[in-house]
């Protein structure tokens, strides 16, 4: 199974069409996500990891690195096993 970071990168690439991204890249400022894209990314992450994210907390995440940290935390809280 791929790691959390690899899975997040794959989904972001699929949704935003961006191949290269750094952990400090902002979804909106650097990767070009509009507000609707952010909502869809949250939905795709939830489906990928089988988790439920609080929408306010999820949409407050700004960078790829923050997303990895946030999703690891939610997976842990909801008892979802992941590869690191």
């Amino acid at each position: 199974m791929a790691t959390v970071e690899e899975r997040i990168r794959a989904i972001t690439t699929k949704k935003l069409g961006v191949e290269d991204m750094k952990l400090e890249d902002s979804f909106t400022a650097d990767l070009g996500a509009e507000s609707v894209d952010s909502i869809e990314l949250v939905a795709m992450f939830e489906e990928e990891f089988g988790i439920e994210m609080d929408e306010d907390a999820a949409l407050a995440v700004e960078t790829v690195g923050d997303a990895i940290t946030f999703i690891r935390k939610v997976c842990k809280e909801q008892g979802v096993e992941t590869e690191e």
């Binding site: 507000s35 609707v36 909502i39 869809e40 949250v42 939905a43 795709m44 939830e46 489906e47 990928e48 609080d54 929408e55 306010d56 949409l59």
Partner: protein, 440 residues
């Protein structure tokens, strides 16, 4: 005699979703009045008290001056407890003040204690004399009604009832006509600028004081009466066909207002509207068709929002109230049920018999929407999502209300929080379905 309206006992109040998520059933409108207005006019009680679902009690107390969920109202007078879905016409006015009932009459509002139950055993009315009230359990409305049903004479009754929201829409033309006649008002008391074309009899038109009808307006009362209430303004090139009721302080903007519309107070309506009921503070400002629909309050329908009310094969329309099971309406003409605070984007296309839950936000994609959009759902890119959550929807509601000088209150927020929980299972299922589609 005290009239007690009860909307806390029904197991099927979801038949009137999404419109009764934020109001009791008797606040629904048909014709020129609410269901409560009709019942009160027929029954002629000395006073009225309400029992609503617990979650809306605090909020409803901020909306009305009469007692809400107050068990002390279940004593000290003769009582008539009524399920608000019972049609007012079935309470015979001749019996309201205790006259002897003729054979085949409706239900007497006053008289000896009697519990009217339908074939399913559901209590439709309970007439209880003050003497009998003392012997009943009064800790809660549920216990009180159960106690009355168990100890007082039961009669099987076949009172006609409003069973679904679309019943109100389909009856709207007739109700307007009946209520206009009962009111007995006609004539022009507002400001009317020439040229004005009135078709049909002028006796079937009433323009209330303070209403303004601009030049180049047609009021077509040939097939039914037209009532334009106080402070309402009709802009040029509007055509209003009767039967029609336009509430206070509304605005018609070059509208093609076809027959059978009841438009609530403080609405702005343009485009084509036919046989629809629109509650207060809702806007359909721009072009687009709305037909055979029921629209809640604080709704905004974006430009070119259009709904279908007739299927291509002319078969009867079905509606999904719970997102899963289709209910055959038995009618070939049913449009959309649109809950309070719904916002639709430009170009929204609503399918025949659509359900748009309260607080839903629609960003159209150009295709007709799914027939069921859950309450608090954000419909984006063709799927139901969590969007930016209910907090952002509340902010929008606050803004919309403040623009009209109204306040979003703590009680309103608590009620809508409860509605959010009540509607959660249906919404979660729709969001899950959307996520799957997105990840394919």
């Amino acid at each position: 005699m005290r009239l007690i309206l009860i909307d806390s006992l029904r197991e099927n109040r979801s038949n009137f979703y999404p419109l009764v998520l934020g109001r009791p059933i008797w606040e629904l409108r048909c014709g020129m009045n609410s269901l409560e207005d009709k019942l009160v006019a027929k029954i002629d009680p000395d006073e009225t008290a309400y029992f609503v679902p617990d979650y809306m009690g605090s909020y409803y107390r901020t909306q009305v001056a009469k007692p809400v969920n107050d068990v002390t109202t279940l004593a000290g007078d003769d009582l008539l407890l009524v399920d608000p879905s019972v049609k007012a016409a079935d309470f015979d006015p001749a019996l309201a003040r205790g006259q002897a009932p003729p054979a085949e009459a409706g239900v007497a509002a006053r008289g000896p204690s009697e519990i009217g139950v339908n074939e399913q055993g559901q209590v439709l009315y309970a007439r209880i004399t003050e003497e009998d009230v003392g012997g009943l359990t009064a800790g809660s409305i549920e216990k009180f009604v159960a106690s009355a049903k168990a100890s007082l004479p039961n009669v099987k009754c076949r009172l006609s009832t409003w069973d679904y929201t679309w019943d109100l829409v389909l009856a709207n033309c007739q109700e307007i006509t009946t209520e206009f006649a009962a009111l007995g008002q006609s004539g022009i008391e507002g400001d009317v600028e020439e040229p004005l074309a009135i078709r049909g009899s002028k006796k079937d038109v009433y323009v209330a004081p303070g209403a303004k009808v601009h030049p180049m307006v047609t009021l077509d009362a040939e097939h039914g009466p037209i009532y334009i209430d106080e402070g309402t303004e009709i802009h040029p090139f509007s055509r209003v066909e009767g039967p029609c009721y336009i509430g206070k302080n509304s605005l018609l903007l070059g509208a093609k207002c076809r027959e059978g519309n009841s438009i609530g107070d403080v609405c702005k309506v343009g485009g084509e509207v036919e046989e629809s009921i629109i509650h207060g503070h809702s806007n359909k400002y721009h072009d687009g068709f709305l037909g055979h629909s029921y629209v809640g309050e604080w709704v905004n329908l974006g430009a070119f929002t259009t709904n279908s009310d007739l299927k291509n094969d002319y078969s009867s329309v079905s509606v999904m109230l719970d997102g899963r099971r289709s209910i055959d309406t038995g009618s070939t003409k049913v449009g959309s049920l649109i809950g309070d605070h719904v916002k639709t984007s430009i170009g929204t296309l609503l399918n025949t018999g659509s359900y748009v839950g309260a607080m839903a936000l629609i960003m159209a994609t150009g295709k007709p929407l799914p027939k069921h959009i859950p309450s608090f759902g954000w419909f984006i890119e063709g799927i139901v999502t969590k969007g930016f959550g209910k907090g952002r929807l509340y902010e929008t509601a606050k803004t919309a209300m403040s623009r009209r000088g109204r306040q979003w209150t703590q009680q309103a927020e608590e009620m809508w929080d409860a509605v959010f929980e009540i509607t959660s299972p249906v919404r979660k299922a729709a969001i899950k379905k959307g996520r799957r589609r997105l990840s394919m």
